[in-house]
Amino acid sequence: MLRALLACFVATSVAAQWENKNVDRKIDATTQIVRTITSATLTNIGSSANSEVEWIIPESNLTKIAKMVAKVDKTVVALTETKRQDGNVFYKVSLNKPVSAGESVTIKMRCSVGEALRALPATIRQGESQMVDFNENAYFLSPYKTLKQSTVFKMPTAKVESFSDTPAPVTHNKDSIVFGEYRDIAPMSAAPLRVHFTNNKPYIVAPTLKRVLEVSMWGNLAVEEWYTIEHRGAKLKGSFSRLEYGKHPGAAPASFNSLHATLPAKADDIYFRDDIGNISTSRIMPVDRDTKTKEVIFQQRFPLFGGWKTRFYYGYNLALENVLHKTPEGLNRLKVPYASPMKDIIVEDMVVEIVLPEGVPAPEVKVGGKKIDDYDIEIRATYLDVTGRTVVVLKDKMIASPERNEELEVTFKFTTADLIWEPLYLITAFMCLFCSVIFLGRLVS
């Protein structure tokens, strides 16, 4: 009771309790995904210990956020949305231990935002470089007063068309621009920060991705991923000339023609196809012994320019012993990566289907250690099935790789004795066939 009252009190008086002593922002726009690391050192200027800090994100960014994680001293702290006001979303950062009056705490917030860079000009010719426009608040948006703040903006190259030079000081040095440092900023202040720069990194967006993981208890995990891919950068203006494209490697800087995936070293029988058959242009790099992975380059049938699309699927087999383990309770636990293995890709809509053996009851599903309850279950009959297999269907939105390389954990019940059914069906069917042939043969003669 007392604790509840206290919590209530803390929540109402939180606004005046903190002061941003020092805020460092690093905005990394070297790829299509804008990755921001904000380290804010806050001082408790209130009179009592406090364990909650307010954090603000513009509401327009909310659908584009691929990942947002707050850490204090390298441990993840919980983020909960509290309210939405004037186009801003307020989060509550719950610190693991209260900070007593006068003490400081440093919160490190990593935030990856997809589709935050707007192509400007929106259309370019084949040989031209792609330029993008980035807009952000020059100040750290906070309900507290900020004493000292600076922002480092990093670009892929030194080529910058223009950038906002107010509020001063702003310094451009090769491929980075430093905004600040600014001092004594009032709460909730805002000023435009704008950078217009060259970014030819592939703008790979997958509007849809379907991952199918089929578990065969005979010892195999079959993985198949169905992609639709779009180049979301500046659209191609005018014609595509193969002659120009073939002249030299950098002839079409804004285009891309391959996707790089990091697959397990033991992945076998890799195939790469689309609606009309095999795509013969893929390369498998040698196994990296340290990470036990190998890189596979999926070169598309044709290069993709802005606005162009493609579709493909690929798959591989993995020996089940690599990913499936018995728990002490005798259950089976499947551990696989949750997100797409492709490098620097944004997936807008992802569906993960885990096909479990026939007759498995609804399993326990965890993503990144977090238990998921609202998944769908489907029944699907494939080879030699009678009742159909249990299919767990997970749906997700806005997933950036490699940000979300979390682990997907599916724990299900299946005993070895259940394996016997399918061979038994076959044996019975063939026995019936032979018996009837013998019977009919006797009947005729």
Partner: protein, 748 residues
């Protein structure tokens, strides 16, 4: 793959082994023979399937060429939507803006067969992609064909010949050419049906039983469903009946078999949408009807003759003949004049007169498989069978009966037809295999018999010598045989050696000549490595994902089926060349100057134009090499296009070099193929050098006014152009964008 080379030659040796079992008496021996037969047939079936899988091993399980893509697309539709939707399917994606009633204009046998396979497998929860079923259907049916050919030959000649025939047809190159994995075409299943109809019909004639007639009609129904080539059956069977009649082999069995077969077969094939009343109206079916009536008249006259005295009968006969003759001729004239009896189609005329199409219908003539056959293809496609056919006929003529006369008539007529049109080589294949098998089996048997007999004779001679000088005559015969022994051995070894080379040749032909999917090209690089040219699929996939679903694509009709099948986009014309005007319009658009073409393309709502260009990669069957046909066909539309304008002014050569005709170098086709090709320079050589035609192109620098290069594949084999939209006059476009000239000034 090498194991094929070892397994296949084993078969004839197996068959030879069979020969030693002749004259078996005990039941045990009989069972052993049956066991051997089943094993041999099983191996033949297996070989028939495996020899057709080269393309899957070399490339992948993919649908080949052109027509199979349409068959695959329709099969997919059938599997997905069911038979009723299929029959009512109006396809809006083809022949824009006309569309096509697919359900009523195809032979659905192939698609239904695939659907049955798919449904049966799905029933046991074995979900196989329609594509895979389609790819492997033809090889499986080739196996079935071997089995049915065994039975057919057994009915005609002997089991031994049957085994040989099954083995021959399993690997005969001319049949392999149409039934490799992925070659998903009507012929793949139709040859099986064809042989089945013949085999069951022979059974009908031999037994005169209605049961067999019924079975035969059912197989015929399947055949009509499967392939337009059923016309051949409906003409061959009456021909055979007539031959039997004229050589005095008329029998009640023949009468019953043919009459009931004809009536039932006509009724049942009228049930197929695409055939319908054609079965009683068109000229192609008239021979069968005529024979039917003739047979009835013959039977009737025979019956009357028994009951009348000869003088009266003669009088009656002449009256009847004049009467019926007049009525018949009058009916035929009135029928054709009123259009009740439909005129004979162009393809049929081509069969009778090989020069017909060249003069009248350029579209039929432009198809390479409608060309007359070169003599060398007989050897390539039949190998030893080509010269065993006459031997087989000779053996058949020595033992005339229902079956041997049938196979002779069948063989002789198809030898003629195969000479007229390349694609009909396929119909000759079963006859060639059966006749070849009869010849081989008789030759082998004859020589083996005589060689073994000689051994016996020598033994007898020895015995008789012991007994004294009683057998001088026998001695004389033995010495005669001795002279021939070496010769006999030579023939025997030669024959077996030929069979082995036949196996080698067939395997080689299957692997090298007939297993290319033709949508994926393979070449050898400098270091012997394999280079894949996957340009077709590159372009088709580009169209599939990067254009609007209702985009209309103009290309020459050859690529229509592939574009609808692989790109899922609307085309103007396709390989179902049913509307000559439409094709001629496309031909004209390709052959005209850019501005004239633009008008045509606008009228047809064309958004993309696609050409196949081999000049960069050295791919010779490209659109420039087909262009003369476009000009010819386009010229049938009106008088704007004249073939002479496209040839070089002096030598009247077909060339795209500097000496090429002015119209040629101005045509849309030339521009689409060679746009910016002039800037491409080969190392140490000239620029704009065409690697197919092996010279520099005529015009290297030109701009495109009405179209834009939208996409060109890696090796330039497929080039796609976007037809520019008409620009607004207001507001005036920015100065750097060129204005499109107004259309009023364009020449009409």
């Amino acid at each position: 793959l090498q194991f094929l080379y070892f397994i296949v030659p084993c078969l004839p040796i197996l068959d030879l082994k069979m020969d030693h079992y002749e004259g078996a008496v005990s039941q045990h021996e009989e069972e052993r023979q049956a066991m051997w037969r089943i094993i041999t047939l099983g191996v033949i079936f297996f070989v028939a399937v495996v020899v057709r899988l080269f393309s899957v091993l070399r490339f992948e399980a993919i649908i080949h060429e052109f027509d199979p893509w349409f068959n695959y697309r329709t099969s997919d539709y059938l599997v997905e939507h069911g038979i009723y939707d299929f029959y009512n399917w109006f396809d809006v994606d083809v022949w824009y803006p006309l569309g096509r009633i697919v359900g009523g204009t195809i032979y659905p046998g192939l698609m239904v067969t695939s659907m049955i396979f798919s449904r049966v497998l799905a029933l046991v929860n074995f979900h196989v992609e329609t594509r895979l079923i389609c790819v492997f259907l033809a090889p499986i049916f080739a196996g079935n064909t071997s089995l049915i050919t065994y039975w057919f030959t057994k009915e005609i000649w002997s089991e031994r010949a049957g085994l040989l025939a099954a083995f021959f047809i399993a690997i005969v190159p001319s049949y392999i050419s149409r039934s490799v994995a992925g070659s998903y075409d009507n012929e793949g299943i139709a040859i099986f049906a064809l042989v089945a109809v013949f085999a069951t019909f022979i059974k009908c004639v031999k037994t005169g039983s209605l049961k067999w007639v019924f079975i035969s009609v059912l197989t015929y129904y399947y055949m009509v469903n499967a392939w337009g080539g059923y016309i051949f059956i409906i003409n061959l069977l009456p021909l055979y009946t007539l031959v039997m009649l004229f050589i005095g082999r008329y029998s009640l069995k023949l009468h019953v078999a043919y009459s009931s077969w004809y009536v039932l077969a006509t009724l049942i094939c009228m049930q197929i949408h695409f055939v319908g009343f054609q079965a009683v109206q068109t000229g192609e079916h008239m021979a069968a009807a005529g024979t039917f009536f003739l047979l009835q008249a013959y039977g009737f006259i025979n019956f009357v003759r028994k009951h009348l005295d000869p003088a009266m009968f003669k009088e009656l006969l002449s009256t009847l003949m004049i009467g019926f003759g007049t009525v018949g001729v009058a009916a035929a004239i009135i029928g054709s004049a009123t259009g009740y009896i439909a005129p004979w189609t162009g393809r049929f005329w081509t069969l009778l007169d090989p020069t017909y199409a060249k003069i009248h219908i350029p579209i039929i003539a432009s198809v390479s498989e409608h060309q007359p056959t070169a003599w060398s293809s007989y050897f390539f496609d039949f190998h030893m069978l080509a010269y065993l056919i006459p031997v087989g006929v000779w053996f058949c003529m020595n033992r005339p009966n229902e079956g041997t006369i049938f196979i002779t008539v069948y063989g002789m007529s198809t030898v003629y037809f195969s000479g007229v049109m390349v694609r009909l080589m396929l119909v000759l294949a079963p006859a060639a295999c059966v006749l070849g098998a009869i010849a081989t089996s008789e030759l082998l048997l004859g020589f083996i018999k005589s060689l073994t007999k000689e051994k016996d004779a020598t033994e007898i001679k020895k015995e008789s010598k012991k007994k004294g000088k009683a057998a001088a005559q026998l001695d004389q015969a033995a010495s005669n045989d001795k002279i021939n022994t070496g010769f006999q051995w030579a023939i025997l070894v030669g024959l077996i050696w030929t069979i082995l080379t036949y196996v080698m040749h067939s395997t080689w032909a299957a692997s090298e000549a007939y297993s290319s999917p033709s949508i994926i090209l393979a070449a050898r690089g400098h270091n012997g490595e394999r280079i894949i040219f996957d340009d077709f699929r590159e372009a088709y996939q580009w169209l599939r994902v990067n254009t609007e679903r209702d985009a209309k694509i103009m290309s020459w009709w050859d690529y229509g089926y592939q574009i609808t099948g692989m790109s899922n986009r609307t085309v103007l014309v396709d390989n179902n060349t049913w509307n000559n005007t439409h094709i001629a319009t496309v031909g004209k658009a390709m052959a005209s100057k850019e501005d004239v073409s633009y008008q045509i393309m606008k009228k047809m709502d064309v958004e993309f134009a696609l050409v196949i260009f081999g000049g960069m990669a050295g791919y010779s069957s490209d659109d420039i090499n087909k262009f003369l046909w476009m000009v010819r066909i386009g010229g049938t539309l009106d008088n704007d296009i004249k073939e002479a304008d496209y040839l070089s002014p002096g030598g009247r050569d077909y060339t795209v070099s500097q000496s090429g005709g002015a119209a040629m170098l101005d045509s849309l086709m030339y521009k689409m193929c060679y746009y910016r090709f002039g800037e491409d320079k080969i190392e140490g050589g000239p620029s704009g050098y065409d690697r197919v035609r092996n010279y520099e192109i005529g015009r290297k620098k030109f701009n495109l006014e009405y179209i834009d290069e939208a996409f060109t594949t890696e090796h330039w084999i497929v080039r796609i152009y976007r037809v520019k939209k008409e620009q607004n006059r207001k507001p005036t476009p920015p100065p750097n964008v060129p204005l499109i000239p107004s259309f009023e000034t364009a020449p009409k």
